[in-house]
């Protein structure tokens, strides 16, 4: 990726207009069901621009929370406001969805499409205006470093490349809210380094929520960290504050891991080693 060769992009009026909301994402006592289980049970959030890491053990409700933010699931209770609009209304939802980028945990794609065709298709579905699509697609592909594979079929890509194509489709519409569920799964160490750099870049003007298992990703790339356990927000703070929460007696190989286990152990004292 050559940073000085970015495609120049026109900025439209909607983008430079002053925002009328304080927080890109605001939740108040948010409750969301996954099937019959209340997987997110009373979460309060107010997130602005920046990279927000979402940590937590399996089954803590991270994916359910992200799916609610992506408008896949409707809240079962509480309040959820995205870009100042309450989630629910139909016409409002369509406008809202143009401003969201989403990489699901199980990212599916049309295998016979080339990378470029697939990203174009997603840009069209996100109602990027027709004349802007080619440039937006090229920009997204270059940002995630797939330019040399842009005209290969999706089915020929390796796992890490597919993940990157997934990120490219999420950012192709220059979203105000970018939701990435396990984006670094399958990336090799060099790609993860590059990805963290991209996250920091995106976080300067976008509200990015990254769900991950990899604690060190959070430490380096995130402006703040949310720790979830059993459907509730256990901790919210900077990576440094997360590190500070752990002591020498807590399990973990790095300060931030020790902080992670300490905070979870405090919430779930009876939880076993897995």
């Amino acid at each position: 990726m050559k940073g000085d060769e970015h495609v120049i992009r026109a900025v439209n009026a909607a983008e430079v207009a002053p925002t009328t909301y304080a927080w890109e994402i605001r939740a108040d006592g948010l409750r969301v069901k996954a099937g019959r289980r209340m997987a997110v049970d009373g979460v309060d959030l107010s997130l602005g621009a920046g990279v927000h890491g979402l940590l937590g053990p399996n089954g803590a409700g991270k994916t359910t929370l992200i799916r609610a933010l992506a408008t896949v699931l409707r809240p079962a209770g509480g309040e959820l406001e995205l870009l100042g609009a309450s989630v629910g209304g139909r016409t409002e939802q369509r406008r809202l969805r143009r401003q969201i980028g989403y990489l699901p945990q199980d990212f599916g794609f049309y295998k016979r499409f080339t990378v470029r065709e697939f990203i174009e298709y997603m840009a069209w579905l996100k109602e990027v205006s027709k004349k802007d699509i080619p440039a937006a697609v090229q920009r997204a592909i270059e940002r995630i470093g797939l330019a040399d594979r842009a005209d290969d079929r999706m089915k020929t890509l390796s796992g890490g490349m597919i993940r990157r194509a997934g990120i490219a489709q999420a950012i192709v519409n220059d979203p105000q809210i970018l939701l990435l569920d396990e984006p670094t799964a399958g990336l090799d160490p060099a790609q993860r380094l590059r990805f963290r750099e991209l996250l920091r870049e995106l976080g300067s003007d976008t509200c990015v929520v990254v769900s991950t298992h990899l604690v060190e990703d959070v430490a380096v790339a995130c402006t703040d960290v949310m720790l979830m356990g059993e459907g509730k927000l256990v901790f919210r703070g900077t990576p440094a504050e997360l590190e500070a929460a752990g002591g020498a007696g807590d399990a973990g190989d790095s300060p931030i891991e020790r902080g992670y286990t300490a905070l979870l152990a405090r919430q779930q004292p009876d939880r076993g080693s897995w």
Partner: protein, 465 residues
Amino acid sequence: MVIRTELRRSAAPWAAVLIVGIAAVLLFAFSGPWWKGGGAWNREWTGLARWERNTLVLLWPFAVGVGALQGLRDHRSGMAELLTTTPRPRWRRTAQTAGAMAIAMAVGYLVIFAIGAVQVAGNASYFHWGWTPVLLVGMLSLIGAAWLGMGIACLVPSVLTPPLLAVGALAVAMVTRISPDGGSSLSGSVPDRIAWLSPVQDGPDEAFTSVTGSMNLAQGLWFLAIAVTGFLLLAATRVATKLLAVVPMLVGAAVALPLLPATAAQVQEVDQGAVALVCAEGTPRVCVTNVHKEFLETLVQPAREALALLAKVPGAPTSVEEATTGQPLYGRRPVVPGVVQIDFDDFDLASGERTTTDPDRLRRYLVAGVGTPTCYGRMEMDENYMSLRAASAVSAAALTGELKPLSGSSSAYFRNELETLARPAWESFRVLPAAEQIARLSAMRVAAETCRGGTLEILTNGVAR
């Protein structure tokens, strides 16, 4: 942009190729079910459009199956979740895929027509636009089939959906195709009107008929309704819409059924433009139908020679006209007094596929039986058949002076039988005085015209047994 991608990456391109392939195999590699005469798929425009409809017996189930395969893509790819978060409405997205499939179906169907059209253009002298509804209805039925397959696969996203749908559609196509015909255990298994809801149609035997307007209209509406239902199933996001999707199909059936013809005879009508007679200048009168007008030049000379030969026999016909109906399966076509009718598809003239241009055979055909038509339908034959054939051959020999088989294509069996019956009759006839010969020919003509039988005895003994 998106539809271009869909045209390249969906099932559309190879579906179009396979449609052309399947139809080409049916049309080129098999000799039947079409009659190799004037109604053949590569001879006339209406014949082409109607025989292409016959290939739908395989193409239509294929379209349902391939549509279902395409309809499974969202499910197979696991993109459903991502797709629900995009702002563009589902119907706009599915319309692109459905549009690509429709283009593939239409192009495939038109390519088959074009392959036939190249041949027809070289063969047919009668051009008209009457075949277009038959072509368009066939095309619409394929689009409807593909969309219905897509819609059902979205509703029931299982790997078994495409094969089961295709096999089911094949069964429906077969049963509805066979049911209106006689002679099968499936005959009459569904009412004729229901059978005509199927896009599969038999082609014509000859070039004189076209499909009635009410048939085309009713079928067109019905396939449009199927397409609408298919698309609604595909585009629906809510359960209520999915349930309502059957409404267009029900309405389509309700409108189409009363419009469809009640009897098989009403499915087709005489194409007046095709059967209009075109006559040669001068006398005696020699006419062919408009659809075969290119043959008039070949016919006029031998026809006038034949009429000159016939003129020796009192009461013999004095003009030649092409018959405007095909030879029926059972019974004979009506006799027109004073006219020798010529049927270019008669197996005495069209031995392989093409009507002979040999003047000698044309002349012999016209004078055989002293210008009377055969008494037998295409499917008939009894103990008197051979003697009538022999009498025809002898009468032709009497007028032309030489005994020859009437047909170029008859089997060795027929030729032997004729030789054993006709040869002795001819040997005894040729030695008779000229006046007696004429008297016997005249008596034989009357007997043959009325199908009383005993024609060979009249020639050999002077009286019928």
